[in-house]
Amino acid sequence: MAFASLFFLVGIMLVLFKEGTPIFKEVGFFQFIFGTKWYPTYEPPEFGILPLILASLWVTFGAILVCFPLGIGSALYLNEIAGTSQRKFLKPLIELLASIPSVVYGFFGLVVVAPFLQRLFNLPTGLTALTASLILGIMATPAVCSIAEDALSYVPRSFREASFALGANRWQTLTKVVIPAAGSGLSTAVILGMGRAIGETMTVLMVSGGAAVMPKTFLEPVRPMTSAIAAEMGEAPMGGSHYHALFAIALILFLITFIFNIIAEVISRRFRIKLGLSG
């Protein structure tokens, strides 16, 4: 039973390979990845997922621009400035906010943020890459903050005290000692946040607009990989090319998040060794 998690991880990988690779034989691996036309229901169908990959990257990049400063900034505030009583209240609150379901964020984006952005920029639709980035960024912030705060709290007290003893004030200590010491821990937080953002489904499905074209600006609808899978799987006939193509997208998505996780794992292990904590 101990191997359950390994079993399922390998199982997921095998299923994705088995159901996804037939499409590579059909249209060719490079044509699939770098093709710029995604018309799976046309006759003849076109399976090029570059627009979907780019959409995912754009939206994730936008989300990072939101959740990196907010999440890390909040973590620094919690760890360095907030008093004990404030931290005792705020830390659980942030953890609680991290548990809000993604479909609720999507709903909020759909009924509030999208109409607001539509009016603000005078757009034909409020469902754009920007909307998805904003919502995803806000959604990932509590998680990034939580992980970053943990990393900061691992920095030994003696580091700070040594800095104070040299006459540095709290801000100098923070920027010159604490942040460099916790740097790899903080980057783990961001990488895990990225992994979550790129794999997030419901919010982007609801607010990204769904147009499978090469993204040009942030103010246009896009269709990220997750949202293509979720939106089209219901209609794709089982065992057909479209079905296999969607599994192949999932396979690529899985590999991307897998790589993110491995990087985060390696960095966080080095971080622990650097600070003299047990691996």
Binding site: L96, S99, I100, V104, N261
Partner: protein
């Protein structure tokens, strides 16, 4: 520039960061509460939907979410607990343990829609469970597995070695020690982890999209092989399908509030418990 002045600016910036974060998250909760509270009534919570999803309540929808969550836990809790016990109590520190640990971390990072596809290919199609409570529960269970394993592992590691050694020195076997000493001591921590994963599973949408959820199903689910309506999917479906967007939107507000309340309440209990345990252990 004066270093104290820079410090003041820097601290102000960090303060702005956390205020902005709390503002946005507060705004989401406030907005859904204000718009949703007028929809909520006794009828809304206890009746079935009728008139093409424009009137009536969401009782079967709430029940569907409860079934799916319960099913996921029945599958994931024993498996996760067994896995955690093996990793903490029996296995020697080795390459194997490391591989398992990495696989747990990776499994928890797999996008939820990928779990959905796995469920579709394996439970719905291969085992031929069809789109059903069973398929959805199993899929959600796999998603909950890494959460339960890591929480249980953490709770088991926190049990002091002296207690184990005292038990072993009295002649108890390892299994007796685990059953009578270690598990009861770690129980609050394990429960916290389980409750947290319940909160997570109850709000997941993507994994049940193709494995369990139906937009509309008359009456209550009859067996574990029937399709089911579920709160998170219901919100999505109300906003994207159907023919009466305005009336459906009102119901979606109500559903969002119920789901938000449910998840925040469950997670709140778990986080409160964890907070108390942390201060108890120091």
């Amino acid at each position: 520039m004066n270093k104290d002045f820079i410090q003041r600016i820097g601290f102000l910036l960090l303060f702005v960061c956390i205020i902005t974060t709390l503002f946005f998250l507060g705004a989401i909760i406030y907005f859904i509460f204000v718009k949703g509270i007028s929809i909520i009534s006794w009828e809304f919570l206890t009746q079935s939907p009728h008139n093409a999803m424009t009137e009536g309540g969401i009782a079967p929808v709430i029940l569907g979410t409860l079934y799916l969550t319960l099913g996921a836990m029945i599958f994931a809790v024993p498996l996760g607990l067994a896995c955690a016990i093996y990793l903490c109590e029996y296995s020697p520190k080795s390459v194997v343990v490391n591989i398992i640990r990495v696989s747990i971390n990776n499994l928890s990072g797999v996008p939820s829609v990928v779990f959905g596809l796995f469920g579709l290919a394996v439970f719905v199609n291969f085992f031929n469970f069809k789109v059903s409570i069973l398929s959805g529960s199993l899929t959600l269970g796999i998603l909950a597995l890494p959460l339960i394993i890591s929480a249980s592992q953490e709770a088991l590691i926190a049990v002091p070695h002296s207690i184990r050694e005292a038990s072993l020195s009295l002649g108890a076997s390892r299994w007796q020690t685990i059953k009578r000493i270690v598990l009861p001591t770690a129980l609050p921590g394990i429960l916290t982890g389980i409750i947290l994963s319940v909160g997570r599973v109850a709000g997941e949408t993507a994994p049940i999209l193709f494995t369990a959820a139906a937009f509309y199903k008359k009456g209550y689910p009859k067996s574990i092989f029937s399709e089911v309506m579920a709160l998170p999917y219901h919100i999505y479906a109300l906003m994207t399908e159907g023919t009466h967007p305005d009336k459906q939107k009102a119901i979606a507000y109500g559903c969002s509030l119920v789901l938000l309340f449910l998840v925040l309440f469950i997670s709140g209990i778990a986080i409160y418990m964890r907070q108390r345990q942390r201060s108890y252990y120091g």
